[in-house]
């Protein structure tokens, strides 16, 4: 059964990924991406990576994509038509990516490895978290710090944006460089 699920969800994931990058409207691509993430979560499940599957849905599909949609809405519709890049550039680009894929595939196909049996609690939340909080405790704390910094950054950006509305005094003695720099400092 596991094979069946893999092919099912795999192909759907690939198709939705393709659609994500080809849709003109960012919102539709966002939705397709969410759908792709759901499929991936399913794939995780087939690999009995239960915690990851759940997290995938929760964080990627839930948090990040929602944020994307929010920002997309916030920024308003871009009526720009995504015209196709000129054929030569497109060709070269695809060729390069194809070459990368080919190279990786050579590596991947270098042997067929079947999945052996794995213990029942493989991928469960206890096992992962026990490992996480033992060997990778320091890294875990760092991740926390990372997220805090990201949050503070985002807040800061947003706050200045709010402050921007009122007349701001440029800091005395700021180097009067070319106009472009002055303009950025104001924002």
């Amino acid at each position: 059964m596991q094979g069946l699920f893999f092919y099912l969800f795999g192909t759907v994931a690939v198709i939705s990924a393709l659609l994500t990058i080809t849709r003109r409207d960012p919102v539709t691509s966002a939705f397709w991406l969410i759908f792709c993430f759901l499929n991936v979560a399913a794939l995780f499940a087939t690999l009995s990576a239960h915690l990851i599957a759940v997290l995938q849905i929760l964080i990627y599909a839930g948090a990040i994509m929602v944020f994307f949609l929010f920002v997309t809405m916030f920024l308003g519709k871009e009526k720009r038509s995504a015209e196709r890049p000129n054929p030569v550039v497109f060709g070269v680009g695809v060729l390069t990516v194809g070459a990368i894929a080919g190279g990786l595939m050579r590596l991947v196909r270098s042997g067929s490895h079947d999945f052996g049996e794995v213990g029942p609690e493989h991928g469960t939340i206890e096992a992962v978290s026990r490992l996480l909080l033992s060997n990778y405790l320091f890294a875990f704390e760092l991740t926390g710090l990372l997220l805090t910094v990201a949050m503070v950054g985002a807040v800061l950006l947003a706050r200045r944006e709010a402050k921007g509305a009122r007349a701001t005094r440029t800091p005395a003695g700021a180097p009067s460089g070319p106009a472009g720099v002055e303009e950025v400092a104001d924002a």
């Binding site: 680009g93 390069t96 990516v97 070459a99 990368i100 190279g103 990786l104 050579r106 590596l107 270098s110």
Partner: protein, 664 residues
């Protein structure tokens, strides 16, 4: 086998001291003191020279060498060169000549250069010249001789360009120095050839280039003798103004006249002859080189004599006459008669110095007018100058009792013995000599005075300080020849015996010696027939000289129009040819000077240096690096997606490497 003495170094050093004194203090000393120093130093040197001469005479004939070792100059590897002076009959005679005639000319100069701005500088240079010439004569090795050789070249440069406010004078000086340098280039290579041949075989510590050492190892020199001889002769042609390097001497007349007398008549120009005589042991080994020398000498004699015919500047005539007479000397050396060559050097010094000094007093009287066409009938105004110059003219023409007859006739005789063709060339040149000297005397002293009357009023005999030396030289021109009174006229030919020990080794080798064993020693049959030969040759040249003189006077006094008509008759080409010195200078310029200048100006400097090396390679690399920089700059174009793509290519490279590396 030689007497070591201290006297020689003083003879040489005195003029240097005089030069140094005058040189450093020339502005601050009054003229009298300067001339006193100048003349005094040469006079004392002359006195010492006389003393040394008699010291030399006292020695037995074979051992007649005084040696004075001063210090070791260049002690390098196989080459040991010392500073040492020798006096043997050859250099003894030359020593007396240089110091004696030098003294007379110094005295003459004090009058001639009176109230000239650079009086002190002039005497300093003149003394320096005598110093260098003395080194050249008394040097005991070829390298020290070369030092004197270039030293006199330097002094002639300084003295020719003495009145340097005229750019032409300094250009003439430069020309003289450079042409001499070209000759010295040959001389230098000659020295190298000799050292290379001798190196390694001469015992350690011996002075390779000393004449005595070289003479001893003459056999080693045999293989390279011709090459060395010719190379040294190249140096001699440079210094003694033979074809092809004679072009500097006529221009050297730009210097003050006493300078011309001393340097370009009596002493410096004869350095080449002295060198050949000194190196006679080498030249005797190579008949090839000797014949080259003889031919060049004869040709120069004739060639210069023809040019002398057409010159209007009195000093230029004398200059070409000197070149011609030098040709005779080299002819003598060329036929192996070095002694006769030197004898002619001595006699020539007397009458040519007199001619130049006489010309100087004429120019002095005519207020620096040198063109003979402006002169005429000066014998009334300058009787003493006229008489002494007439004596010299008779001497140079080779009229019997005068000095020229004995030395020139001896040369022609020796030339006849070697090859009648050479004799014929010499003989023709002798006739031309008589003719142009007569022309000179006729145009200057006879006929009506063509000078502008303003100068006519000032015409007067030169002061005693100038005329005194003229008289002394006049007497010498008469008496000078008697020391070489030939046997067939009953004389003892003292000069020949005096030089015999120096050149005798030549005979010992029996290679090219054509020394005629003179009658007194009861020579072989060939001696008998030669007396008659000598008589005939003597009469022939005497008659020919008289004819030349008479022709000259006749043409330029009785029929002044004749030269003009002669020109038309020969359609003027030959005349213009010899008047412009066969355009030799112009040819040299066109063939050598201009191409080298063009080559180095446009090609070497512009194209090669600035163009290829600097432009292309050095700055070229700079520009290339700049270009590459520009290209690389395009990569940073600010397009985010371009950066993404470059990431992708980076990944691709890694993937390819990993794929290729790990799959195997």
């Amino acid at each position: 086998m030689h007497e070591s003495t201290e006297i020689l170094r003083w003879i040489v050093a005195l003029p240097l001291i005089g030069a140094a004194l005058n040189g450093f203090l020339n502005r601050r000393l009054p003229e009298a003191v300067v001339s006193a120093i100048g003349i005094g130093s040469v006079a004392v040197s002359f006195g010492l020279a006389l003393k040394a001469f008699f010291l030399l005479r006292a020695l037995p004939a074979e051992g007649r060498i005084l040696h004075d070792f001063v210090y070791q100059w260049i002690p390098v590897g196989d080459l040991q060169v010392d500073v040492g002076f020798t006096l043997d009959p050859l250099s003894g005679a030359m020593l007396l000549l240089v110091t004696g005639v030098g003294l007379l000319i110094h005295i003459y100069s004090s009058g001639y250069m009176h109230s000239d701005g650079g009086f002190g500088r002039y005497f300093a240079y003149l003394n320096l010249f005598v110093f260098s010439m003395l080194i050249l004569i008394t040097a005991d090795n070829l390298l020290l001789l070369f030092v004197g050789w270039e030293g006199v070249g330097l002094c002639s440069y300084l003295l020719i360009g003495f009145w340097f406010h005229e750019i032409a004078n300094s250009a003439a000086g430069k020309k003289a120095f450079i042409v001499n340098r070209i000759g010295d280039f040959g001389f230098l290579i000659g020295i190298f050839v000799i050292v290379r041949a001798l190196m390694g075989h001469v015992d350690e510590g011996a002075n390779i280039l000393a004449f005595s050492t070289m003479a001893e190892h003459a056999d080693l020199l045999a293989p390279v003798a011709t090459l060395a001889g010719l190379l040294l002769f190249v140096g001699a042609t440079g210094k003694s103004a033979q074809i092809p390097l004679f072009v500097w001497l006529p221009d050297a007349m730009a210097g003050p006249t006493p300078v011309s007398a001393l340097i370009h008549a009596a002493t410096m120009v004869t350095a080449g002859v002295y060198m050949m005589a000194r190196m006679s042991f080498l030249y005797d080994l190579t008949p090839v080189a000797l014949s080259v020398v003889a031919v060049v000498g004869a040709l120069t004699a004739l060639f210069a004599a023809t040019i002398g015919l057409a010159q209007t500047d009195i000093k230029k005539v004398l200059a070409y006459s000197t070149v011609s007479q030098l040709g005779y000397m080299f002819l003598a050396c060329g036929v192996g008669a070095y002694g006769v060559g030197i004898f002619h050097v001595l006699t020539h010094a007397f009458f040519k110095a007199l001619l130049f000094l006489g010309a100087g007093s004429v120019i002095h009287g005519m207020h620096h007018e040198q063109d003979m066409r402006q002169m005429g009938g000066l014998r009334k105004y300058m009787p003493l100058t006229f008489m002494t110059m007439m004596a010299a003219t008779l001497a140079i023409a080779g009229i019997f009792p005068f000095a020229g007859f004995f030395s020139k006739d001896e040369i022609l005789y020796k030339a006849w013995l070697q090859s009648p063709a050479l004799w014929l060339v010499g003989f023709l040149a002798a006739g031309l000599t008589a003719f142009y000297m007569a022309r000179l005397m006729a145009m200057t002293f006879f006929g009506e005075c063509r000078a502008p009357d303003e100068t006519k009023r000032h015409l007067h005999e030169s002061p005693w300080s100038m005329v005194g030396p003229l008289v002394v030289l006049g007497i010498l021109s008469l008496v000078g020849g008697w020391m070489g009174w030939p046997e067939f006229l009953g004389g003892s030919n003292a000069i020949h015996h005096w030089f015999a020990p120096v050149f005798e080794h030549g005979a010992a080798h029996g290679v090219a010696a054509t020394e005629v064993v003179h009658l007194v020693e009861g020579g072989a049959a060939e001696g008998g027939h030669s007396v008659a030969l000598e008589w005939t040759l003597a009469f022939l040249s005497l008659g020919w000289a008289a004819l030349g003189l008479f022709g000259g006077f006749f043409v330029y006094l009785k029929r002044p129009d004749l030269p003009g008509r002669a020109q038309q008759w020969v359609s003027g080409i030959p005349h213009r040819l010899i008047e412009n010195k066969y355009f030799v200078d112009e040819i040299y310029d066109a063939v050598i000077v201009w191409p080298i200048h063009r080559l180095s100006e446009t090609f070497l400097w512009r194209v090669v240096d600035a163009g290829i090396i600097d432009g292309l390679m050095v700055n070229g690399v700079g520009r290339f690096v700049g270009l590459v920089g520009q290209l690389l700059r395009l990569v940073q174009n600010g397009l985010l997606r371009w950066y993404a793509y470059s990431f992708a290519t980076g990944v691709l490279v890694i993937v390819i490497y990993v794929a290729r590396h790990y799959t195997g």
